[in-house]
C-alpha cells in the first residue's frame, strides 16, 4: 500500500513535465512522421502517399544531399571551437593578472542573440564597407575585395568562423571547470617525476578533461544541426546552396515552397541522423552517457 502510494506520488510529480513533453515533443514527432507519408498542404486534406517523399529526397533531390553534406561540414566547427576553447581555457587558468576579466570577455560572445551575431558578422564580412576587407586591403594581403558571403569558396568558412566565435566562450567555461577539477597534486607529482609540460598535458590534463570535451562535442553537434538563425541571417543558405544546411533547407521547403509534407520527410531524416549520432556518441562515452546515479 505504502509502495503504491509512493509510485503514485512519483507519477503525480512527473505528470506535468510528462504532459508537456508529450504535447510538445512526442505528438508533433508522431504527427511529423505521419505527415511524411502523406500529401498535404494547409489548404487541402491529406492523402496517403507512401514513401514517395523519401524516394524523392534520396534519389532525385540534389539539394538534400548538398545540405546534408553542408551540415556535416558545419559540424566541423565543433572540434575547431573545442580546440580553440581548450587553448583559451589553459591560458585563463594560469595565474595571470586580470584573468577574470579575460574570462568574461571571451564568454561575452555566447549570451549574444544569434541573430545579432549574424548581423554583426555580415557587416564585418561586407564586400564594400566590411572591416575585414578594409584590414586585408590595408595590409596589402589582397588586391581585390573579397565577397566573403557571396562566393562559393568563402561562404561556408565565413559562417563557420562566426559560429566558432559565438560558441567558443561557452566551451571555454565548460573546459575551465573541467581543468579546475583536476587535482593539482597529480600535476605536481608528475612534475616531480620529471614529466614535461607537454607530457603532463597529454597524459594527465587531456584524459581527465574527456567528460568536459565530450560534453562540448555533443553540444556542438546538436548546435550545428539546429543552427538555423545564424545561417539564415548571414547567407540565407546561399549562394546557390553553398551554405544550405538541413535545417535551413527544411524551412525553405516548408515555408517558401509550401511543401510541408516533403519538409516532414526531411525532418524525419534529420531526426534519424541525430539519433544515429547520439547512439554513436553514447557508445564512445562507454554506453553511460546521460546515466544518473541512483540515490540510495
Amino acid at each position: 500500500m505504502r509502495r503504491a502510494r509512493g509510485t503514485l506520488l512519483i507519477w503525480a510529480f512527473l505528470a506535468p513535465s510528462l504532459t508537456i513533453f508529450l504535447l510538445y515533443r512526442i505528438l508533433p514527432l508522431l504527427w511529423n512522421a505521419a505527415l511524411s507519408v502523406q500529401t498535404w498542404s494547409p489548404f487541402r486534406p491529406s492523402k496517403f502517399a507512401g514513401l514517395i517523399h523519401y524516394e524523392e529526397l534520396l534519389f532525385h533531390d540534389e539539394v538534400f544531399w548538398t545540405s546534408l553534406w553542408n551540415t556535416v561540414v558545419f559540424m566541423s566547427s565543433s572540434p575547431i571551437a573545442i580546440a580553440l576553447a581548450l587553448g583559451l581555457a589553459l591560458l585563463v587558468d594560469t595565474r595571470i593578472r586580470g584573468r577574470g576579466v579575460y574570462r568574461a570577455i571571451i564568454f561575452l560572445s555566447y549570451p549574444l542573440m544569434t541573430v545579432a551575431v549574424g548581423i554583426i558578422w555580415r557587416w564585418l564580412y561586407d564586400e564594400k564597407v566590411g572591416l575585414l576587407n578594409y584590414v586585408l586591403l590595408s595590409l596589402h594581403l589582397t588586391q581585390r575585395r573579397i565577397a566573403f558571403l557571396d562566393s562559393y569558396e568563402w561562404a561556408m568558412p565565413s559562417v563557420v568562423v562566426a559560429a566558432v566565435w559565438q560558441i567558443v566562450g561557452f566551451f571555454m567555461v565548460i573546459l575551465l571547470a573541467g581543468l579546475q577539477n583536476i587535482p593539482p597534486n597529480l600535476q605536481e607529482a608528475a612534475a616531480l617525476d620529471g614529466a614535461s609540460g607537454v607530457q603532463r598535458f597529454r597524459h594527465i590534463t587531456l584524459p581527465l578533461l574527456r567528460p568536459a570535451i565530450f560534453l562540448c562535442l555533443m553540444i556542438g553537434i546538436i548546435n550545428s544541426f539546429t543552427s538555423f538563425d545564424l545561417i539564415y541571417v548571414m547567407t540565407g543558405g546561399g549562394p546557390n546552396y553553398a551554405t544550405e544546411v538541413l535545417i535551413t533547407y527544411i524551412y525553405r521547403v516548408a515555408f517558401v515552397l509550401s511543401k510541408f509534407d516533403y519538409a516532414a520527410a526531411l525532418t524525419v531524416v534529420l531526426f534519424l541522423f541525430l539519433l544515429v549520432l547520439t547512439w554513436l556518441a553514447n557508445r564512445v562515452a562507454g554506453g553511460e552517457a546521460g546515466a544518473v546515479d541512483a540515490a540510495e
Binding site: 494547409p42 489548404f43 487541402r44 532525385h60 565577397a147 557571396d150 562566393s151 562559393y152 540565407g236
Partner: protein
C-alpha cells in the same frame, strides 16, 4: 407532469417573443498586410470608414514583415484562423489560389462592373489563375532600368541601352576598378526581362513543358556568365537579396541597375549622389518588365466573404487608393494613378521620372505565368541559372539540368 412541462415550454416561448430576437453574433473581419506598420494611422482610417457602414463588424489588423508573412499566414490557415483579407506580394497568391485557398473574386467583379473598370485591366490580369481573378490591385510596381548618368557620360555613352548587346557593351565600358556596369535584383523572376528580351520563353503555351532550353537562351546565359566573370556584372546581382544590390547601386559604383520601382526610394535614401542630373530611369531594352505588385484577396475559409469584399472595395476606393499612392509615392493599379502621376510631377520630378515607367508599356509584362507550382519552378530554374551565371556550370549544362528539373516538376 405533462401539463407542467407544457406550461414551462409556453412560458419560455412567450419570454422569447417578449425579449425579441437573440442579439446578433458580433462579426469580426481580420486583415493581414505586408510590412506596412508605418501606415497604421491610415489603415485605422479604413477601419473607421468601414465601421460607419457596418457598425456591427469589428476589424482586426495584423501586419507582418516579408519573411514572416508566409509562415504566419500558413500557420493561421492550418489553425483554422486564416485572416479574411490578405495583402500578398508577387506570385505568392498563386500557390494559395491553385490549392483552393482563396475566394474567386470573378463573380464579385462581374457583379460590380464599375469596380472592375476602376482597376487597371493589365494589372488585374496578373492575378488570374485558370480564368478566375483571385486578387485585386493594392499597389503595383514593375521592373525598370535605373542608370547612373555620370558613369554613362564618363564611358562616352550617349543614351541608355536599347538592346541586350548594347546593355552588355555599355556595362563593359563602365566597368573599371571598383565600378561595375550592370546589376539586377533577382528575386521573384525579376531578372527575367534579360531572357525575355532575347526571345526566351520559360514554358510552352500550355504551361506543361519547359521551353527555355534553346540556343538563344544558352547564348544569353553564357554572355551573362562571361560578363559576371569579368566584373561587368556585379556578382551581387545573382547572390544578393534586396538590401545588398540596392546598397551597391546607392554607393554610386554601378552603372545600370534593373530593379522594381520601390527600390528607388531606398536607393535615394542611401545615395547622396542621386538627383535629377545624375539618375535616369527608363524601360529595359524591349520594354520588358516583371511585375512585383501587391494584391488584396480573401481567404477561402473566411466566414464573411461578402463583408471582406466590401472591405477590399473600400480599402482600394478612390479616397484610400489616392491616400496610399500619395503617402508612398507608389501607384495603385487603379484609375487614381493618373492624378497621382500629375501631382508627383509637380512635387517630386525625380520620383516622377522613375514612376512614369510604371504606367508605360504595361502590355510588356513578363514572368506572369499562371502556374500553381510557381515557387517550385522558380527555385528549380534559378538554382541552375545561378550556377551558370556564377561560373559554376557551363550555360548549356545548367539549362539542360534546369529543363529536366522543371519538366519533372510539371509532370508530377
Amino acid at each position: 407532469m405533462r401539463r407542467t412541462l407544457t406550461r414551462i415550454v409556453i412560458g419560455l416561448l412567450a419570454l422569447g417573443l417578449l425579449t425579441g430576437p437573440v442579439a446578433a453574433q458580433p462579426k469580426t473581419l481580420s486583415l493581414l498586410t505586408w510590412n506596412i506598420p508605418i501606415y497604421k494611422e491610415k489603415i485605422e482610417g479604413w477601419i473607421a470608414d468601414f465601421k460607419k457602414i457596418h457598425p456591427d463588424v469589428t476589424v482586426e489588423w495584423f501586419d507582418k514583415k516579408g519573411p514572416e508573412w508566409g509562415p504566419f499566414y500558413q500557420t493561421q490557415v492550418v489553425a483554422g484562423t486564416a485572416p479574411d483579407i490578405i495583402d500578398t506580394q508577387g506570385a505568392i497568391w498563386l500557390d494559395y489560389a491553385s490549392n483552393g485557398g482563396l475566394v474567386d473574386l470573378t463573380p464579385h467583379l462581374q457583379r460590380d462592373a464599375a469596380v472592375k473598370d476602376y482597376y487597371n485591366p493589365k494589372f488585374l490580369q496578373t492575378w488570374v489563375y485558370e480564368g478566375k481573378n483571385y486578387m485585386v490591385p493594392f499597389y503595383v510596381s514593375k521592373t525598370l532600368l535605373f542608370y547612373n548618368k555620370g558613369m554613362l557620360k564618363e564611358a562616352g555613352i550617349a543614351r541608355p541601352p536599347q538592346t541586350f548587346d548594347e546593355l552588355l557593351d555599355a556595362a563593359r565600358k563602365m566597368t573599371k576598378g571598383e565600378k561595375s556596369g550592370f546589376m539586377t535584383l533577382n528575386f521573384d523572376w525579376l531578372y527575367w526581362p534579360l531572357l525575355a528580351m532575347n526571345g526566351v520563353e520559360l514554358l510552352t503555351p500550355d504551361l506543361k513543358k519547359a521551353a527555355f532550353n534553346t540556343p538563344a537562351a544558352v547564348k544569353t546565359v553564357d554572355a551573362l556568365a562571361k560578363a559576371t566573370a569579368d566584373g561587368t556584372i556585379n556578382k551581387v546581382a545573382w547572390t544578393g537579396r534586396w538590401v545588398e544590390p540596392n546598397n551597391a547601386f546607392a554607393s554610386g559604383t554601378v552603372g545600370l541597375y534593373q530593379a522594381h520601382a520601390p527600390a528607388f526610394f531606398y536607393v535615394r535614401g542611401g545615395g547622396p549622389w542621386i538627383n535629377g542630373d545624375t539618375l535616369g530611369a527608363t524601360q529595359m531594352p524591349g520594354g520588358f518588365a516583371t511585375p512585383n505588385s501587391h494584391g488584396l484577396g480573401i481567404s477561402k475559409s473566411s466566414k464573411h466573404p461578402e463583408l471582406a469584399w466590401e472591405f477590399i472595395k473600400l480599402a482600394t476606393n478612390e479616397k484610400w487608393a489616392y491616400t496610399f499612392g500619395k503617402n508612398f509615392k507608389l501607384f495603385t493599379g487603379t484609375r487614381v494613378d493618373g492624378r497621382l502621376m500629375d501631382e508627383l510631377q509637380k512635387e517630386d520630378p525625380l520620383a516622377a521620372s522613375v514612376m512614369k515607367t510604371q504606367l508605360e508599356q504595361v502590355d510588356k509584362l513578363v514572368a506572369t505565368w499562371p502556374l500553381g507550382k510557381d515557387a517550385q519552378v522558380k527555385e528549380a530554374f534559378y538554382s541552375e541559372f545561378q550556377a551558370a551565371v556564377l561560373g559554376r556550370k557551363p550555360a548549356a549544362a545548367a539549362l539542360a539540368e534546369a529543363e529536366r528539373k522543371v519538366n519533372r516538376l510539371l509532370a508530377r
